[in-house]
């Protein structure tokens, strides 16, 4: 028998997730699995109306029910009555008005979820129902009174760049509509709050994207000093942006503090649709002016993002949208007007792609129109316009990131197309799938393109730093960070970094909680760069201490030392000892804070160095369409993505395939349907997510051109996969049907009528 050295799980290897096996086997404790002795259950009473005045709330019926320990409303909030990520405009509990269907009005704690349900049913709220403001244009035209003291316009941002009077012979325009998508994570919101014995503080286990931001907002509402609110990450079952805002955090903590008992809250699927923000529905108008050679001369655009009742991250989503008007293309002149508005629709905020998804759907629709108008094919027109490192964007910012866009497009184009459909295809391979609606002769194939550029990290002057600690002792490393693991794989990556930098194999990580500095949010494709940078920095500091220690012991200048595999070696001498040996009876611990380079606010003309960095991607979609019935089967997606450097191939592929499925959902089925402020489909029966049968074949090329600004050369890969795949699929449907379809998701009736 031969023994082959197992490959070390360092950077570049497909190290396995430390929680992978337990998740597959069902052993992993998600936050909804948490339990504490003597625990109560919490539940939330929500508004059935999108807009109403609260006349009275009678809690007496609930208090009378045996097993009910606590009933709270806005009256019981000890600290600040409102919270929010950017502007604190959302009430912990509605007080005078409810502004969206599902807004929390009261909460109860009781011995059993069923007791909670009865208690909620026994609370009598008298509402004066008001006419909801649901048309975003009416929020802009001031036809309606403000529905909130902060007004109906959350933010307006214009971009004026270059010569606004510039003209060109080719002009194409379009109005694009993007529906409201839900993040639809599988693990619904849940938290367990355990009050301190002295009543002076609280510990909260919660599934979230950003522990420290939750803590900050919770402490204000609970009127506690931040250090008295300790947050621990509960097992997170997906996030996609929906856990960036507070949901049940304050409610659960407040019930626990009031009852001096542990309280657990967990939303069901229907409640989850009301418990978190969604992707902004948007209407975007664009007019592109181009020369006959296809080169863009000017873009005019108007964006309207429906933010729903509270602002959440709407103002940042708007900025992402308008600053990505041009997409990954050069554009010397631009006039853009953008609004994020308040309505009585469900609040919208962060979701994978964050404003760029909407912008991309519009600019890619425009590129196809430009291709038709100029007679240049859709790949060539994109190549002619692509942006390069060093180009100035419409914000006046110079693109500094590595931009291998031409490779992304050319490598995607070079991937093999799927085979022609067989004469007698299997029924499941046809549009309509198991419904057996189509025969071979009913099907038309189409091809479409989408290319995009997405900013990484937070923008507009925000210092979203990350902190990590590395402790080396006796050849083992323990890492500590507050980085939310939401499935993206930071708990796999962080040990890979430590193994690579320090030459150790045994790496563990401590509980993810607020007992160390902030890691920033797990969003904006930022944790590999930011928390990866922090872990890398902390490990490098530890390595220096180790070299000093070894150098002193052996009388060698520490600068001569290096790590080779699992050894410390003298680069110009003969010393070679294992890291294990070098760190025996030696302990060193270092904490590192990683900050990205500073950015600036946009001025009134939308000018400013507002973004940190960018990543690029191209998608080509092949679809089969049953034109008469309007049903679609996405056959294949080919994609080449700018990833900087591949740190874990399996993780990157996972992000790409998953992102494509999510972008496919927005292209052909995922939409929260809201009429007059009422959500019509808050369930997985009617909010359709792609199944395995809807998932296409995916061909992937990972373009590695390390970015010198990124700590390990690696760009975030989380969002890029889901952005231009949506317009690529819709373009393929247009190509197959010859119909001009400017909305997503594309519904059967959009195709067949």
């Amino acid at each position: 028998m031969t023994i082959t050295k197992t490959q070390r799980d360092i950077l570049g290897s497909s190290a396995l997730r430390p929680d992978g096996v337990s998740k597959v086997q069902g052993d992993f404790a998600f936050s909804s699995d948490l339990h504490a002795e003597n625990m109560l259950w919490g539940a939330t009473l929500r508004s059935p109306h999108p807009y109403a005045r609260i006349i009275s709330i009678d809690l007496s019926g609930a208090w009378k029910i045996a097993g009910v320990e606590c009933v709270i409303t806005a009256e019981d909030v000890p600290g600040q009555l409102t919270y929010g990520l950017i502007s604190e405009d959302q009430p912990v509990f509605a007080k005078d008005f409810v502004r969206y269907m599902g807004e929390p009005v009261a909460a109860v704690a009781a011995d059993h979820p069923e007791t909670c349900r009865r208690a909620l049913a026994a609370i009598v709220v008298v509402y004066e129902v008001l006419t909801p403001l649901t048309n975003p244009e009416h929020a802009i035209d001031e036809a309606r009174e403000p529905i909130h003291p902060d007004g109906n316009i959350i933010r307006r941002q214009q971009i004026i760049h270059g010569d606004v009077n510039a003209t060109a012979p080719i002009v194409v325009e379009g109005t694009y509509d993007i529906g409201m998508q839900d993040q639809a994570f599988l693990g619904t919101e849940s938290a367990l709050a355990i009050p301190d014995h002295d009543g002076a503080g609280i510990e909260v286990f919660v599934a979230t994207q950003w522990l420290h931001e939750d803590r900050k907002q919770m402490a204000k509402c609970l009127a506690l000093p931040e250090e008295k609110v300790r947050l621990v990450l509960g097992g997170v079952g997906g996030a996609f942006g929906a856990r960036e805002d507070i949901s049940l955090q304050v409610h659960t903590a407040l019930l626990a503090m009031r009852t001096s008992r542990p309280v657990k809250m967990q939303y069901g699927r229907e409640e989850s649709f009301f418990g978190h923000v969604h992707r902004h529905p948007a209407q975007i108008w664009m007019r592109h002016h181009a020369n006959t050679d296809g080169r863009i001369v000017k873009i005019e655009a108007r964006f309207v993002f429906d933010g729903g009742a509270y602002s959440s991250t709407s103002s940042a989503v708007l900025i992402n949208g308008v600053t990505h008007t041009q997409g990954p293309y050069q554009c010397p002149n631009a006039i853009v007007d953008g609004y994020a508005v308040r309505t009585n629709n469900p609040p919208c905020g962060a979701m994978r792609g964050f404003g760029v998804v909407q912008a991309c759907f519009a600019h890619e629709g425009q590129m196809d129109k430009l291709a038709v108008a100029t007679g240049i094919d859709e790949v060539e027109i994109r190549l002619r316009n692509i942006i390069h490192t060093g180009d100035t964007m419409i914000t006046g910012q110079v693109l500094e990131s590595v931009a291998p866009l031409e490779r992304c497009i050319r490598e995607t184009a070079a991937m093999p197309l799927p085979r022609e459909m067989e004469a007698h295809p299997h029924e499941l391979d046809l549009p309509g799938g198991s419904g057996r609606t189509a025969d071979r002769r009913n099907i038309v194939r189409g091809i479409g393109w989408g290319v995009s550029m997405k900013n990484l990290m937070y923008s507009e002057g925000f210092d979203d730093y990350s902190t990590a600690r590395c402790t080396l002792t006796n050849g083992s490393v323990e890492l500590k960070f507050a980085t939310s693991e939401v499935g993206q794989g930071f708990v796999t990556l962080a040990p890979q970094i430590a193994r690579s930098v320090l030459g150790v194999d045994n790496v563990t990580y401590d509980t993810i909680d607020t007992q160390i500095g902030s890691a920033g949010s797990t969003s904006a494709s930022r944790q590999t760069w930011m928390s990866g940078g922090a872990v890398d920095g902390a490990c490098r500091m530890v390595r220096e201490r180790l070299f000093e220690h070894v150098g002193a012991l052996h009388g060698i200048d520490p600068l001569r030392l290096a790590i080779d595999d699992t050894d410390v070696v003298d680069t110009i001498g003969s010393l070679r000892i294992t890291v294990q040996e070098a760190s025996t009876n030696f302990t060193v611990s270092e904490t590192f804070e990683y900050h990205h380079r500073p950015t600036q606010d946009l001025d009134d003309n939308g000018q400013g160095n507002c973004h940190v960095a960018f990543a690029f991607v191209a998608h080509r979609a092949v679809v089969d369409v049953d034109v008469e019935l309007g049903l679609v089967k996405v056959v294949q997606i080919a994609t080449a993505q700018d990833v900087g450097r591949v740190l874990n191939p399996m993780s990157v592929i996972g992000q790409i395939e998953g992102g494509i499925a999510q972008g496919l959902g927005l292209a052909v089925m995922e939409e929260i349907i809201v009429t007059n402020g009422i959500v019509r489909n808050p369930s997985f029966t009617d909010y359709l997510l792609p199944t395995a049968l809807d998932a296409p074949q995916v061909l992937i090329s990972m373009i590695e051109e390390p970015d010198p600004q990124a700590p390990m050369g690696a760009k975030g890969v989380g969002e890029a996969p889901c952005i231009s795949v949506t317009p690529a699929i819709v373009a393929a449907i247009r190509n197959a049907t010859g119909k001009s379809i400017d909305r997503c998701p594309v519904r059967p009736q959009d195709i067949c009528f």
């Binding site: 349900r117 069901g268 229907e270 499941l428 549009p431 309509g432 799938g433 198991s434 419904g435 057996r436 609606t437 189509a438 025969d439 009913n442 008469e628 019935l629 309007g630 049903l631 089967k633 052909v668 089925m669 349907i673 009429t675 019509r680 489909n681 029966t685 009617d686 359709l688 792609p690 199944t691 049968l693 809807d694 519904r747 059967p748 009736q749 067949c752 009528f753």
Partner: protein
């Protein structure tokens, strides 16, 4: 909460008359969803899954009928002898939910719920199935057309249990097609079952009216034209006639206009499949 698990029809009907407020459950794939949504709060449950005659099915070629017990799961109808005898039912069964749902869901439950979107129902309608109902003291057999009386309403009396269905065999082609906005695991937006027997066409429509709709006028028309004369344009006209017999509504799943269009297209395509043109 008491859960009774009777092992015979007699026990089951007696339990039901002694516990009139009990909820019947077979696979639970509808009932448990309603419980989760707080639409139902059962205090007593009678499970019908362990009753041998409900689990039984047989094909009686002599009398030309198939009998399927009310708790036979869809998985059993998808392949094998049952699928050969009743291809349309097999096709409908394959569109129901996911493998997990098909392992538990049953005709008894589909009939009990009686949703216009129930996938087995257009098949039972087109094949002129008979539904068997029993109380402690009575037994009756009702043609499907008289069984389903409205959306989620049927003529089952509160003390009756569905034991199964009898489906006359047909001697021509039969098939089922269903439109949903996803390639699997989706509630029907429009569906059609078409069956040919003795050269006559029968067509039944799902999700386009308060009940399953039999396209009687379209049937009469196509049968007067004659199957041997079916051309693509005849099939087109058949589809248009079927569309005219549908009575769909707008809801969050689709529009009335699309549903009407879709049943027409499906009817045309099924007819062409049926005559292999």
């Amino acid at each position: 909460m008491p859960v009774f698990i009777p092992s015979s029809l007699t026990d089951a009907t007696r339990l039901l008359s002694n516990n009139p407020s009990a909820h019947l459950v077979t696979g639970g794939t509808d009932l448990m969803v309603e419980v989760n949504f707080n639409h139902r709060h059962p205090e007593t449950v009678i499970s019908l899954r362990k009753i041998p005659e409900f689990q039984h099915w047989n094909i009686d070629n002599k009398s030309g009928v198939v009998h399927i017990g009310s708790s036979v799961p869809y998985a059993t109808m998808e392949h094998g002898e049952l699928a050969q005898a009743l291809p349309a039912l097999a096709e409908a069964a394959r569109t129901v939910g996911s493998p997990q749902i098909r392992a538990a869901g049953s005709l008894g439950g589909n009939l009990g719920t009686c949703s216009p979107a129930g996938d087995s129902l257009p098949v039972l309608s087109a094949l002129n199935a008979i539904v068997h109902l029993h109380s402690e003291t009575t037994s009756r057999s009702v043609p499907f057309a008289e069984f389903m009386v409205g959306p989620k309403r049927n003529s089952r009396l509160p003390n009756e249990i569905i034991s199964g269905v009898t489906i006359p065999l047909t001697n021509g082609w039969q098939g089922y097609a269903k439109v949903g906005v996803r390639n699997a695991m989706v509630i029907s937006v429009a569906s059609v079952c078409l069956a040919i027997h003795d050269g006559n066409v029968r067509v039944a429509l799902g999700s386009v009216g308060p009940t399953i709709i039999r396209g009687s006028e379209s049937e009469a028309w196509i049968n007067s034209v004659g199957l041997e004369n079916v051309t693509p344009s005849v099939a087109q006209e058949f589809g248009e006639r079927v569309r005219a017999e549908s009575r769909p509504i707008d809801d969050h799943r689709s529009t009335a206009e699309y549903r009407r269009h879709a049943v027409g297209v499906l009817a045309t395509r099924l007819l062409l499949r049926g005559v292999q043109r």
